[in-house]
Amino acid sequence: MTDYWLSKMFFDLQSPAAAAEYRADREKVLARYDLEPEVKQAILANDVFFLSKRTNPYLLRYFFFAVGMKDDEFVHRLRDG
């Protein structure tokens, strides 16, 4: 299942300015997208596994890279939930 708004947010946050804004005020940026409550919660909890079922893998990786998660941790969370 592809979540359009989740994917849209990840797509938009490829911009360094947008990613910086997100890091500074996550709630403000999240409010711009029509996200389901459980999806919003998963973003805030860095629930990589949950989100991986709802978006393109490249966008998933770009987002967590943009917010500063190291690849090792990203892969660990992706594999092990």
Binding site: S7, Q14, Y58, L59
Partner: protein, 275 residues
């Protein structure tokens, strides 16, 4: 008339920039040498235009509209948008509008219907190989973006057929123009999925071997194995376009090395062009 003067392929990957200095010296030297070998071959062929066949890594297209194939028909293209590509020395990359539009109109007469863009951002997929090849003079770039990122993807046989059509369209351009084709991406890698970091050495070597076999064997092997050998491996579609452009023969491996530090099975090849 225009002529096809060279066809080659090279891997790309963000870590070929971000981790370049952290690579073991021997590994970095082998990669540098492979990229530069291709750069020397391109320079020797003196192309006026280089058609670069690459995926779009969410730089131009989003879920609103994901073309299977898009040809850049603009007079100019933007340099890479990724912040870690800031050191790439070209921010504006001249295209060749008349030639690109000719390609589009020619392939459309044969039942191939690409989308077009009058201004594309050329992301790391296009620019890393150009950068690492060390070309002193960048030819005009006509991007041909093939979707290998967001399913549904164009079929493998269609990509091979695209290459054939491309070669025919190049040769029918009614002006003197030397044209090269550079495919980028592959070989095996896995991005943003549980197998991220995996390189499938055996898959890569068999793929390489089959580029010198029949196209049926190559397509059959890839159709069967691509779904289980990393999503990044789908970029081999671009190599198929190159293979088709070269008439599905004349493949020559320049080098292959799996590089865990850059999480890509790095392949480099060129094709001998039939006279």
């Amino acid at each position: 008339m225009a002529s096809l003067v060279g066809v080659c392929a090279a891997s790309h990957g963000p870590l070929l920039v971000r981790e370049w200095d952290a690579l073991a010296q021997g590994e970095r030297q082998k990669l540098k040498s492979a990229f530069e070998t291709l750069g020397q071959r391109i320079a020797a062929a003196q192309p006026d235009v280089l058609i670069v066949v690459s995926p779009d890594h969410w730089s131009n297209f989003f879920l609103d509209n994901v073309p299977a194939v898009c040809i850049g028909v603009g007079e100019s293209n933007e340099g890479p948008p990724e912040p870690w590509m800031k050191a790439f020395p070209h921010r504006e990359i001249p295209g060749h509008a008349a030639f690109a539009l000719h390609l589009v109109s020619e392939v459309m007469t044969q039942g191939f219907e690409p989308s077009v863009s009058h201004r594309l951002k050329l992301d790391h997929g296009v620019c890393i190989p150009l950068w690492r090849m060390g070309l002193e003079r960048l030819p005009r770039i006509v991007p041909l973006l093939v979707n290998s990122i967001e399913p549904p993807l164009p079929s493998l046989s269609r990509c091979l057929a695209w290459g054939r059509q491309l070669a025919s369209a190049i040769r029918s351009f009614p002006h003197s123009l030397k044209v090269g084709v550079l495919a980028t991406g592959g070989l095996s890698h896995s991005i943003g999925e549980p197998t991220m970091g995996a390189i499938y050495d055996d898959f890569d070597r068999e793929t390489i071997r089959l580029f010198s076999s029949s196209e049926q064997q190559l397509i059959s092997f890839l159709d069967k194995n691509l779904p289980t050998h990393g999503n990044g491996s789908q970029e081999v579609r671009n190599w198929l376009v190159a293979h088709g452009a070269a008439g599905a023969r004349g493949f020559e491996l320049v080098d292959y090395l799996p590089v865990p530090k850059v999480i890509v099975g790095c392949g480099f090849a060129s094709w001998t062009i039939p006279a």
